[in-house]
C-alpha cells in the first residue's frame, strides 16, 4: 500500500467493536456480537469511499464508530489527523464541525416537532451560540445548495416528500462546511428515480465543495456510480478494497465476485455463468480460526479453516483477503 503524501481526511486503523449480549444465565459468561474485527482504511480528500456488504456485516457499526457515537473497543480513527477515539463527548464537540452524517431514513431522521430551518441549523447550534442573522444566512445557503428554497425553512418535515426530506438531511450535514460526510444507506429508502436525483446532488456537492464521502450501501450499482474507491465488508472485516473500476472488473475475493454476480444485468438474456451465495451470515457471535467467509465460500478448502488470509496486494491500490485471489482473477 502506498503511503499517502497528504493527511487523509479519514484514517481508520484496526477498529474493533464487540457488543456484549445479555447474560442467558447467571452462571454463563455473556456472549458477544463481533461487529468490527480490525477494520483499516484511508479516505483521501475529495474522494468518495464506498463500503458495501450485506445486512449485519458491520457497516452501520463502522459508521457509528467513525462518527464517535458509541464507545470504540480498540483501534484508531483520525479525522484530518486528529484522533477521535478516547476523546470525551465534550472534547469532541469542536471537532464535529468537520464530520457530519446523513442517515438512512429521511422520515426518522428529522424531528417532526421542529421546522426545517431549526433542523438544518442544528449542527451549528450545537457548536455554540450564533446570531439570528448568521443562522438564517447559513440555513439559506445550505438549503439552496441542495436545491431547496429559503422559504422552505419555515415549513415542517411532514410537508415534504422522501427525496426532499433527504435533501434537508443533506443540508443539515453541509451547514458546518464539513470535510467528511458519512452517508449510511442515504438513498436506500428512496424510490429509484429519486435515488438518482439525490446521487447526482451528492456528486455535484463533491464537485462544488470538495466534500469527502464515506458512503455506506448494500447497493453495488449505487456505489459503482458514486464512489472512487470501494471496500467490501464481511463479518466485521474488510475482505477486499480497491479502486471502483478495478474491483468491479476483476474481483479478487469470492465474496465480491458473488455480490457482483447477484446484480441483475440487462442485455443478452443468456444464462450467465454465476456463483450463487448459499445460507445466511453465520459466525457473528463466535471467534474462530480461519477465513471469516469459510462457511459460504464455494472455493473453500482445508487451509481456509486453519489460516486466516491477510489483506494482500493483488494489484495497484487493490487488496484482498483470500488464499486464492490469483486463481479467482485468472478465471474471470
Amino acid at each position: 500500500m502506498t503511503e499517502p503524501t497528504t493527511v487523509a481526511v479519514l484514517q481508520v486503523r484496526d477498529l474493533v467493536r464487540h457488543y456484549r449480549l445479555p447474560r442467558e444465565s447467571l452462571f454463563k459468561s455473556p456472549g458477544h456480537v463481533y461487529a468490527l474485527n480490525g477494520v483499516s482504511f484511508d479516505i483521501q480528500k475529495g474522494k468518495s469511499f464506498g463500503i458495501v456488504g450485506e445486512s449485519g456485516c458491520g457497516k452501520s457499526t463502522l459508521a457509528r464508530n467513525v462518527m464517535a457515537l458509541e464507545e470504540t473497543d480498540a483501534g484508531s480513527v483520525k479525522i484530518l489527523g486528529n484522533e477521535v477515539v478516547g476523546l470525551s463527548f465534550d472534547q469532541l464537540r469542536p471537532l464535529r464541525r468537520h464530520f457530519q452524517m446523513v442517515f438512512q431514513d429521511p422520515y426518522g431522521s428529522l424531528d417532526p416537532h421542529h421546522d426545517v430551518g431549526w433542523i438544518v441549523a442544528e449542527p451549528l447550534a450545537a457548536l455554540g451560540p450564533i446570531t439570528q442573522e448568521e443562522r438564517a444566512r447559513r440555513v439559506t445557503e445550505a438549503l439552496e445548495s441542495v436545491g431547496l428554497k429559503q422559504r422552505d425553512a419555515h415549513k415542517y418535515p411532514h410537508e415534504f416528500s422522501g427525496g426532499q426530506r433527504q435533501r434537508i438531511a443533506i443540508a443539515r450535514a453541509l451547514i458546518t462546511h464539513p470535510e467528511l460526510i458519512v452517508a449510511d444507506e442515504a438513498v436506500s429508502a428512496l424510490d429509484v428515480s429519486v435515488q438518482a436525483q439525490v446521487l447526482n446532488l451528492l456528486k455535484d456537492l463533491q464537485d462544488t465543495f470538495g466534500v469527502t464521502f464515506m458512503f455506506i450501501s448494500h447497493d453495488l450499482a449505487v456505489v459503482e456510480y458514486l464512489c472512487d474507491e470501494v471496500a467490501v465488508m464481511y463479518l466485521g472485516e474488510i475482505v477486499e478494497k480497491g479502486r471502483t473500476e478495478d474491483l468491479f472488473s476483476a474481483p479478487a475475493h469470492p465474496y465480491t465476485r458473488i455480490l457482483l454476480d447477484a446484480v441483475p444485468k440487462p442485455g443478452s438474456g443468456k444464462k450467465r455463468d454465476r456463483i450463487k451465495l448459499a445460507g445466511n451470515v453465520t459466525g457473528q457471535t463466535e471467534q474462530r480460526s480461519g477465513c471469516s467467509f469459510q462457511d459460504r465460500c464455494p472455493m473453500a478448502r482445508d487451509i481456509c479453516k486453519i489460516d486466516k488470509p491477510p489483506l494482500i496486494n493483488v494489484g495497484p491500490d487493490h487488496t484482498a483477503a483470500c488464499h486464492f485471489s490469483g486463481e479467482l482473477r485468472e478465471k474471470s
Binding site: M67, L69, F89, D90, L92, R93, R96, Q100, M101, F103, Q104, D105, G108, S109, L110, D111, P112, H113, H114, D115, E122, P123, A125, A126, L127, H154, K155, Y156, E159, A169, R172
Partner: protein
C-alpha cells in the same frame, strides 16, 4: 405553529366527540369553581337550625342540609376545593415524576435502575392505601391529603415518561442530534420533551380525575379537607347517616364527583385523539 397544523388541530378537536363532551363537562366545573370564588347563591358555611332540611326553592335551589347550609353553595365551593387539591397534587407528580422519568431515560444505567425500582416499590401499595398511610403519619388535613395524592402521582409519571422517552431516544433524529454534538441534557429539552408532551398532557388529565376521586375518598374518611370547609367527600360522609331521611343529600355530591371524573376521563381520551392520532388508531 404554522397554519396547516393548527387548522387540522381544530378540525380534529371538533371531530372528537369525547373531546367536546368532556371539555364541556370539565369547563362547567371550572366555571362553577371560578364563580364560587366571589359569589354563591347562599352560604356554604353559615349554620342556621331554623332552615334545616328545606326543600328546593328559589332561594335554596337544591334545599339545605341538616345544619341549614345551602347545598348548591356547598357543591360549588366543594368544586373549588377539589380542583385546587387536584391541580396541586398533579403538579407535584408532574414536576418530580417527569423529571425523574426524563433523567432515567437520559442517563440509563444504575440511575435508571434506581428510579424504576423506587417506582415499582411505591406502585406495590394501592393508591388509596398509601394515601391513608401518609395522612395517618402526617395527620389528617387538606395539605397532607394533597401531599399524599401528589406522592402517588410521582411514580405514575416517572414510569410513563421513562418508557416513552426511551422510545424517542432510539429514533434517528436523536442520533443526528448526538452526531452534531448535543449533550443528553440539551437533547432531552429540545427533542425528547416536545415529542412526549402530548402523552404527558393526556396522562395528566386522567390523573386529575383520579386525584379528585382520591380527595373525595380521603375527605369521606375524614383524612382530607377538614370542617368547616365544604368538600364533596365530606358531604357524602355527612349525608350517609341521613340516607333514609333525605337521600338527595348523598346523591348531589355523588353526581358532582361522577361528573368530574367522567368528564375528565372523556377529555383525556379526546385529547389523545386530538394530540396524537397515531395512538388512538391502535386502540
Amino acid at each position: 405553529m404554522n397554519s396547516s397544523t393548527s387548522l387540522s388541530f381544530l378540525a380534529r378537536c371538533r371531530r372528537s366527540r369525547s373531546f367536546m363532551v368532556g371539555g364541556v363537562m370539565t369547563g362547567f366545573l371550572l366555571v362553577c369553581a371560578a364563580v364560587s370564588l366571589f359569589w354563591t347563591p347562599g352560604s356554604a358555611y353559615d349554620i342556621s337550625i331554623a332552615n334545616r332540611f328545606l326543600p328546593p326553592s328559589s332561594t335554596h335551589w337544591l334545599g339545605t342540609d341538616q345544619f341549614g347550609r345551602d347545598i348548591v353553595s356547598m357543591l360549588m365551593t366543594g368544586t373549588q376545593n377539589s380542583i385546587a387539591v387536584a391541580v396541586v397534587a398533579v403538579s407535584i407528580g408532574l414536576a418530580v415524576g417527569v423529571s425523574l422519568g426524563l433523567l432515567a431515560a437520559a442517563r440509563r444505567g444504575w440511575t435508571e435502575e434506581l428510579i424504576m425500582r423506587f417506582s415499582d416499590f411505591s406502585f406495590a401499595f394501592p393508591a388509596i392505601l398509601s394515601a391513608i398511610m401518609i395522612t395517618a403519619i402526617l395527620g389528617p388535613g387538606g395539605v397532607n391529603s394533597i401531599l399524599a395524592i401528589g406522592l402517588y402521582n410521582i411514580p405514575v409519571f416517572a414510569r410513563l415518561v421513562r418508557g416513552t422517552a426511551n422510545a424517542i431516544w432510539t429514533r434517528e433524529f436523536v442520533m443526528a442530534a448526538r452526531a452534531s454534538g448535543k449533550d443528553r441534557f440539551r437533547i432531552t429539552f429540545e427533542h425528547i420533551m416536545p415529542n412526549i408532551l402530548s402523552i404527558i398532557i393526556v396522562q395528566a388529565t386522567i390523573l386529575f380525575a383520579i386525584a379528585i376521586l382520591a380527595e373525595a375518598a380521603l375527605s369521606y374518611l375524614g383524612l382530607g379537607t377538614q370542617p368547616p370547609h365544604p368538600s364533596w367527600g365530606r358531604m357524602l360522609n355527612e349525608a350517609q347517616a341521613l340516607m333514609f331521611l333525605d337521600p338527595w343529600q348523598a346523591i348531589y355530591p355523588g353526581i358532582a364527583i361522577a361528573t368530574a371524573v367522567f368528564g375528565l376521563n372523556l377529555l383525556g381520551d379526546g385529547l389523545r385523539d386530538v394530540l396524537d392520532p397515531r395512538l388512538s388508531r391502535k386502540r
